[in-house]
């Protein structure tokens, strides 16, 4: 009877496993594709366009892939043993101590199983050596420590020394489980998985810094190489976080041209001249819900331009070392290429900042401050004050400080603010547009702003700015538009500033002389 129950349980368990294992055979082989398939809205197209190569059976890998399933047994059981032991310290739960040896034994046995399958899985390759080594040895330590703990526990009552040793081993084991689990997670999901959406404040506590990626731009399109300067950087930005030597998903390495052309476990990623047979390209077009869509859901997606550039490159034969200009360039590609050049890029496009904490955004939004993203792909924010103009002050601006990296447009037009209120603005280093027109500010605010070197638009019309204040703007090399109508700035002051910043557009009112003749107000 016992045996029959056991078999039934195992059969039940095997059903999902078998289902998973047979899934790839359901994928159809679709080879004929509309030539302009890439015009189709990627979210709307439901056609499967990818050939999946029929892998040979591999028992080691098959068993190895049970690792993610089995690994949760020791994690759960051993941690539970730890919890039981802690609980048993209290009189009320004392009887739980009898369950501990059993849990430790079961846990250490399942840890062996997890370890073996884990080793089998690692033979497939594609994992970063460094991370893998750490994960492997921590896993082995857990198994060993659990077993030692079990032996000690059985001999528990013999001497006080053993008792103390047991407690130490148990603690160590629990720590090792957490660490091994973290590295395992990093192997599967990428090393920034845990911290990506961590609130900024927490990150500061643990000292974790999200990278701000500056996209490499083409300096001179005439001499740019198509792979090195156009395609490579796209792959680097959007694909290499999973297809790198640390973590080679699908055995596809996208860090070099040769490895890209070699492809991964489902064959070559690129078929020169044939976008419809290039799996890398086809996967970019799958609907977001498709498991094979790349980049997968939740990751930064390629833009339409980037996808089109990849298609164009493949159609041109996927060359490794040719100049962009040696290839045939249709109009839309020319435009997309131009956007990759330094001269076309605005600061906001070429700079990436970490996303703002959504909880913080929700807390601040709606309380008289409107904070909205400037565009869907960017983490940059714009701020408007919907409070009555009298109730904006230093306090309100200071509440934005946790967002100082994300906020890039601030509109304080007509706000009843003075120089003192605006002191915190100096922290907003990524500010590109600032509306301060019709406020009571004077030259000292300009001193506050002088550190904002990314500022492009500054509206100061109707304020008490004078020639003296303009000196603080002299180092703002990115400033392109400055509005000074109805201020105390003289023509001479404007002239001085323009000597320093020849590309700056300064507006002192429509035709200075005429408008001053009107005598405003």
């Amino acid at each position: 009877m016992k045996r029959i129950t056991f078999i039934c349980v195992w059969l039940l368990y095997l059903i999902p496993v078998a289902a998973t294992a047979t899934l790839p055979s359901e994928y159809s082989f679709v080879t004929d594709i509309e030539p302009d398939a890439f015009e189709i809205d990627t979210d709307a197209s439901d056609n499967s366009m990818v050939d999946l190569v029929d892998d040979e059976a591999n028992l080691v890998l098959f068993v190895g892939r049970l690792h993610p399933l089995l690994v949760h047994l020791p994690i759960g059981v051993l941690l539970f043993a730890f919890i039981l032991e802690c609980a048993a310290l209290f009189k009320r739960f004392e009887q739980l101590k009898h369950a501990v040896p059993f849990a430790l034994l079961l846990g250490s046995l399942s840890a062996v199983a997890a370890g073996v399958t884990g080793y089998m899985l690692s033979t497939a390759g594609g994992y970063g050596e460094d991370l893998l080594t750490r994960h492997k040895w921590l896993g082995i330590s857990v198994t060993v420590l659990a077993f030692i703990a079990f032996l000690l526990r059985v001999k528990f009552f013999t001497t006080p020394l053993l008792k103390r040793l047991y407690a130490g081993v148990l603690l160590l084991m629990a720590g090792a489980i957490l660490a091994a689990g973290h590295y395992g997670g990093s192997l599967t999901h990428g090393s920034d998985y845990l911290f990506r959406y961590m609130p900024e404040s927490l990150r500061a506590v643990i000292g974790y810094q999200m990278e701000e990626i500056e996209i490499a731009l083409i300096r001179n399109l005439d001499s740019a190489m198509v792979y090195q300067h156009v395609i490579g950087p796209i792959l680097e930005m959007r694909c290499q976080s999973c297809h790198n030597p640390d973590r080679t998903e699908g055995e596809l390495l996208l860090t070099s041209y040769d490895r890209l052309m070699k492809g991964g476990e489902s064959g070559p990623a690129i078929m020169a001249h044939h976008i419809e047979q290039s799996e890398l390209y086809q996967r970019l077009l799958l609907p977001a819900s498709d498991d094979r869509r790349m980049p997968p859901e939740g990751r930064r997606q390629l833009t339409r331009d980037q996808i089109n550039l990849i298609a164009w490159w493949i159609e041109q034969g996927a060359p490794s070392s040719r100049r962009v200009n040696d290839l045939e360039i249709p109009d839309d590609i020319a435009e997309a290429l131009f956007k990759l050049t330094e001269e076309s890029q605005s600061f906001l496009v070429r700079t990436e900042v970490p996303p703002a904490d959504p909880a913080l955004l929700e807390r601040l939004n709606g309380k008289g401050i409107s904070i909205t993203p400037i565009a869907e792909d960017l983490h940059f924010l714009q701020v408007r004050f919907t409070l009555s103009t009298d109730s904006i002050g230093r306090k309100e601006i200071e509440t934005l400080l946790p967002l100082s990296r994300q906020v890039t447009w601030i509109n304080l037009a007509r706000a009843n603010v003075t120089d003192k209120d605006l002191v915190p603005l100096s922290e907003f280093r990524n500010l590109t547009r600032l509306n301060l027109q019709l406020t009571g500010i004077t030259d000292s605010t300009l001193a506050t702003l002088s550190s904002l070197e990314n500022l492009e638009y500054l509206n100061l019309y109707g304020t008490f700015i004078s020639d003296n204040g303009l000196q603080y703007l002299e180092n703002m090399s990115n400033l392109t538009s400055l509005y000074l109508w109805q201020t105390d700035v003289s023509e001479e002051g404007v002239h001085q500033l323009k000597v320093q910043l020849p590309n700056l557009y300064v507006d002192s009112g429509w035709r200075y002389e005429e408008v001053t003749a009107f005598e405003p107000d």
Partner: protein, 486 residues
Amino acid sequence: MSEEIHKCNCNMNRRHFLAKTSLGIGAMGLASLLRPNLIFSNKKDPFEGALKAPHFIPKAKRVIFLFQSGGPSQHDLFDYKPKMVEMNGEELPPSVRGDQRVTGMTANQHSFPIAGPRFKFKRHGKSGMWVSDLLPHTSDITDELCMIKSVHTSEINHDPAITFFQTGSPQAGLPSMGSWISYGLGSDNENLPAFSVLISRGNGLVMNQPLYSRLWGSGMLPSLHQGVQYRSGSDPVLNLKDPAGVDKMSRRNMLSSLKDLNKYHLSEYGDPEITSRIAQYEMAYRMQTSVPETMNVFDEPDWVFDMYGEDARQPGTYAANCLLARRLAERDVKFIQLYHMGWDHHGGIPRALPARCKDVDQASAALVKDLKQRGLLDETLVIWGGEFGRTAYCQGPLTEKTYGRDHHPRCFTMWMAGGGVKRGFTYGETDDLGYNIVKDPVHIHDIQATILHLMGIDHKRLTYQTQGRRFRLTDVHGEVAHNILA
């Protein structure tokens, strides 16, 4: 509330709590399966846009559309063709007209003599843009303008053509451009509607081509996105004022009770129009303060009226509306639509056209200048143009003294300024007789796609599903005119 009732309310034992919450969590789970986007969504404010964020970084934060209703003659204002002057009175070669169907108004004409412009043209600004002497003030701002000479439309009669321009379809009933933008991006000013409409009539004209309020209707979009018309006179928005004898407090109480009733109704029926209605009542209440403040132009200094022209002192004129447009723009209204009637010059151009130009020239130019010095032109797209152009050939008698022109959808001229378009730039070209486009055509759908693009919206992705399919402003057409973007 008596203590007993309060106690009773607090009277929930563990069993009740568990029973209630487990059912509740189950219901939430089910709801999240059925409508994953709605559950846990923070969207409370119906004035928030349908898009979480613009598709790209917007170049323009708002649009001021100076619509010249009736179809201004491009031949006499912008699209200068010396050949037409040279060939004045000669027959339009049939090869130029091709097999085009013309309107019933000229279809029976025996001849189609070319009517050269009777007005002097000069080149202006650094770019040397051609502008007729009829528009001296516009000539002043050519370095700010992006002149598109190759606009064409699919419609040849006023109402379908205006409807087409506003809604992307000649058949009435679809949402207007301003409604789409309000729907997509929401409102930047919670005290004023995102889509405002101002109408003026040709000075001294008795008859004008009519306009219909459906031109600023919201179609199938929630009705709070429809354009709100501001009128001249003491009651700029109809039915906004409290009736005599009703004070602020009773109005507030009435609205609050009404809101409760509506909310109750909403919970029963779930009709989103009820949400719209609640929001509109609240908006109307706030507008009781914000509208008079916005419309009060008397706080403007005298030199402003010198700039926009003396007409600006007279409410209801185009010049006054331009000044209001600036005030609305300063208050972050997203889409400001002006209509000026009276450009339908089938005859009598030498007398009638200068009058219309006088209506609009100074104020249009002043608006651009004024926005510029306030630093707003940078982020405001100003558009000037009508629903179609006028023919190169004459309608009616072509005499020394007079001539007229029929509707011409094949090509016409518009200008844009500010918010992300090139400055001092002329785009597109027509043939020597100004009849057909020879270079860089821009269709109305392209103009619409471009306007949305400048506002940060991908015209293909701002859609609304109704009657079993998704609708959008540009239907299945439209290409962004990238060449005019700065």
